[in-house]
């Protein structure tokens, strides 16, 4: 009887395996379902619901123009990468998806996104419509990209105008001035600190490892595309950032528990910190937390006076990609074209506080032209892309998590030395299978 059960089970198992195997064997896009598209959007607004409210009228306009119905799902950042992985593995997913632009090359390497060659760019109005550096995030060097820029973002340093005025301090232009200002504005007894950092967020921390390293003239990857996290400039850059909490004590140790940028924004809006470093979409979040537009302003994140590079941000943003298993390639291309049209860019740029990704685009996220110009300057001239290599995602997790742990050590009363940073970076580097 046991033998018979096993014999019955074997074909079932084989059928199950064959079914699973079939899931991963799609060969490319088609046009079998030309009337509909499924779109996974990332969370750009103040909540998933807010995103839906903003996007729905835009997508309705697309349906009116093309007759293609769009099924929208907004996915939070905590889930988006796993959802995309699952979609790529199973071949069952959306037609079009938003991705963090730093994932561009890693996702390209999976082969799950549609290559955008000359033919596709013809449908999109040409490559030269897009800001070149932003388009470069869509794929590895000398390859056809698999995603195009949708929303541009750049870091800025937001300061509390009143606090600075009361202390008679000018907004800083160098790292040293920033530290001095933060020290002057720190009053531990009153629960006010000079700065607030998302020190428990590996996604934020890895960006600052990169920006500080770039200011030191160091690179995270060698010319042949291997990780080089233990270079002096990288280690010193990380140490400089950690010292804001450790040596200068201008960051509340509790920030080591801030596992996303919104927590530091809230802290800033509540008057618990005078400075935060956030991407320009923080405008909307700061205001929704109770500060009016005239109570805060942004300046470029400063580099040390003797810095090699005045990098103030990584080239942040959101890209738009077509899944290779789409059943509506033509419709998906129309959708990409629509979302990056001047009209849609202007319409979405305001609520999502994004920078235009088109060469002749105008920022609409703020009425303050000075602020808009400053962010456009950072985005266009003082932002560098994170390493455009397939292991970029592993850099984010390994270096970001290592920095989480080092901030936790400092916050809980321990000390992090330069040697500790070297060991942590060597460990992070060794964990990458490039």
């Amino acid at each position: 009887m046991r033998r018979r059960t096993l014999l019955t089970a074997a074909p079932l198992a084989a059928a199950g395996m064959a079914g699973l195997a079939a899931c991963g064997s799609g060969s490319g896009g088609s046009n079998e379902s030309p009337d509909s598209l499924t779109y996974w959007a990332s969370n750009q607004g103040t909540s998933l619901e807010n995103d839906k409210e903003i996007l729905t009228p835009v997508l309705e306009r697309f349906t009116e123009e093309t007759g293609i119905a769009v099924d929208l799902e907004v996915i939070g950042w905590a889930d988006l990468q796993t959802r995309i992985q699952t979609a790529i593995t199973s071949g069952q997913g959306p037609d079009v998806v938003n991705i963090g632009n730093t994932w561009g090359v890693s996702l390209q390497a999976t082969g799950g996104l549609l290559d955008l060659g000359d033919e596709q760019f013809e449908a999109l109005g040409g490559r030269d419509r897009y800001v070149p550096a932003a388009l470069a995030t869509g794929g590895a060097v000398d390859t056809d990209p698999t995603s195009i820029p949708l929303y541009g973002l750049a870091y800025g340093m937001y300061y509390n105008v009143q606090m600075f005025a009361d202390a008679g301090i000018e907004p800083p232009t160098t790292w040293e001035e920033m530290v001095e200002a933060a020290k002057a504005l720190t009053d531990e007894d009153a629960g006010v600190y000079g700065m607030s950092l998302a020190a428990g967020s590996y996604t934020e921390n890895n960006h600052f490892a990169f920006i500080n390293a770039t200011q030191n003239g160091a690179s995270l990857n060698t010319e042949d595309g291997k990780p080089s996290f233990t270079e002096d400039g990288v280690v010193d850059g990380i140490m400089r950032y950690l010292d804001l909490m450790q040596e200068h004590k201008v960051v509340n140790p509790s920030n080591a528990q801030f596992d996303n940028g919104t927590k530091s924004v809230t802290s800033f809006a509540n008057g618990e910190a005078a400075l935060i470093i956030n991407q320009n979409n923080a405008h909307a979040t700061i205001e929704s937390n109770g500060m009016s537009a005239d109570q805060f302003a942004a300046i470029p994140f400063p580099a040390p006076a003797d810095a090699v590079d005045d990098c103030a941000s990584h080239l942040a943003g959101i890209n738009l990609a077509i899944m290779k298993d789409t059943e509506n390639v033509d419709g998906a291309l129309q959708f990409l074209n629509f979302m990056t049209s001047e009209e849609s860019q202007a319409e979405l740029g305001e609520p999502f506080a994004s920078l235009p990704v088109l060469v002749d685009g105008e920022p609409t996220f703020t009425d303050d032209t000075e602020q808009a110009d400053m962010f456009m300057e950072i985005y266009g001239e003082r932002a560098e892309p994170l390493p455009l290599v397939p292991w970029e995602d592993q850099f984010e997790t390994s270096v970001g998590q290592a920095m989480n742990t080092m901030f936790a050590t400092i916050a809980t009363g321990g000390t992090v030395t330069r040697d500790d940073v070297v060991v942590a970076m060597q460990t992070a580097q060794d964990s990458i299978r490039a």
Binding site: M17, A21, A78, S106, T110, Y202, K324, P390, T405, T412
Partner: protein
């Protein structure tokens, strides 16, 4: 010895030439039909994923192959070597995670067992309000996991959490507010939350087991002058042995495999002190996109749990048989 046999005509009914031959009995098919849905679901939910995971542990399933995963190159034992190579960060962190999980399991199972037993024995005899206590004790087990662990997350926040408010501001036991979710204290937090969730299960099982112990045994032992402690040791414990045996194994497996508690409690800010093995394997697979190494770690975990379970069952069964002999 005379034998009584029925006449031939009554034993075998006459068969007419045009009557069909009797059909073979179909009763043997019925149990299989009843079992079929369970077998199919078992295959789909347990066996197929397990077999797939086992296969994945022998292939190089990185981001380059997740779309064409049936074409992933055969890696032999390389994934296993990476997982257990203590000269590499991957191996060292896996070992650290294993040791953290061992300590976590020992504490959670041990303390949950003790609390569950104490509460069940305390509520063994009827008294006014017993039902209220029983209900109260079972609440953590009945609450949805996500909701309860996220509440702990709020309570354990350094600046705004209820725990520090209580310990520092109300009772004044501590001078400064400690961190509970980062650093070494993260281990204490995850142990406490897991015990809070697990001990009502032990309590429930012991409570059910105690119902079946005849009251006469306690009366007789009391007549012989046994103290409550002696009664517990010589009556309660032996009578609860079958419940105890199964429950310890189930608790060990659940606690060792606990994914949800660290996942909800720590989120993406996973501290090394709270790096439980299921969570570690998830991160190794999904954050680094290396599903081959992640699967190898899963297979190693499976083999370890299988070995512990077999050794445990061998000794407990052996002991039982020896006692019966």
């Amino acid at each position: 010895m005379p034998s009584k046999t029925a006449p031939e005509s009554t034993r075998t009914p006459p068969q007419s030439a045009d009557r069909p031959a009797p059909r073979r009995p179909r009763r043997h098919l019925f149990p299989y039909l009843i079992l079929a849905p369970a077998v199919i679901l078992e295959l789909l939910i347990h066996i197929v994923p397990m077999a797939t995971g086992f296969w994945m542990s022998f292939v190089e399933l990185t981001k380059f192959f997740i779309r064409r995963w049936t074409e992933a190159p055969f890696a032999g034992l390389e994934n296993f070597q990476i997982a257990i190579d203590l000269n590499t960060p991957v191996g060292q962190e896996f070992l650290n995670s294993f040791l953290v999980t061992l300590a976590f399991t020992a504490l959670v199972v041990g303390i949950s067992w003790t609390l569950g037993m104490a509460a069940a024995v305390a509520l063994q005899r009827p008294f006014r309000g017993r039902g209220v206590f029983r209900t109260l004790f079972l609440i953590p087990y009945a609450l949805p996991l996500y909701a309860s662990v996220i509440t702990w997350n709020f309570m354990l926040q350094r600046d705004t959490g209820a725990v520090n408010h209580f310990l520092v501001n109300q009772l004044g036991i501590l001078d400064s507010a400690p961190f509970w979710l980062i650093g070494d204290n993260a281990f204490i937090s995850v142990v406490v939350v897991a015990i809070w969730r697990m001990w009502p299960f032990a309590f429930l099982m012991f409570m059910a087991g105690l119902q079946s112990i005849p009251g006469e045994l306690y009366e007789a032992s009391a007549m012989d002058g046994a103290t409550p402690m002696r009664q517990w040791r010589s009556v309660t414990l032996p009578m609860l042995a079958p419940v105890n045996q199964t429950m310890l194994l189930v608790m060990f497996l659940w606690v060792f495999n606990d994914f949800n508690t660290p996942y909800v409690l720590f989120g993406t800010a996973q501290p090394p002190a709270g790096d439980l093995i299921s969570f570690h394997i998830y991160n190794s697979s999904f954050l680094s996109w290396d599903f081959g190494v992640g699967s190898a770690m899963s297979v190693l975990l499976l083999l370890f749990l299988l070995a512990v379970s077999l050794v445990y069952l061998y000794f407990t069964q052996w002991k039982k048989e020896k006692n019966n002999a």
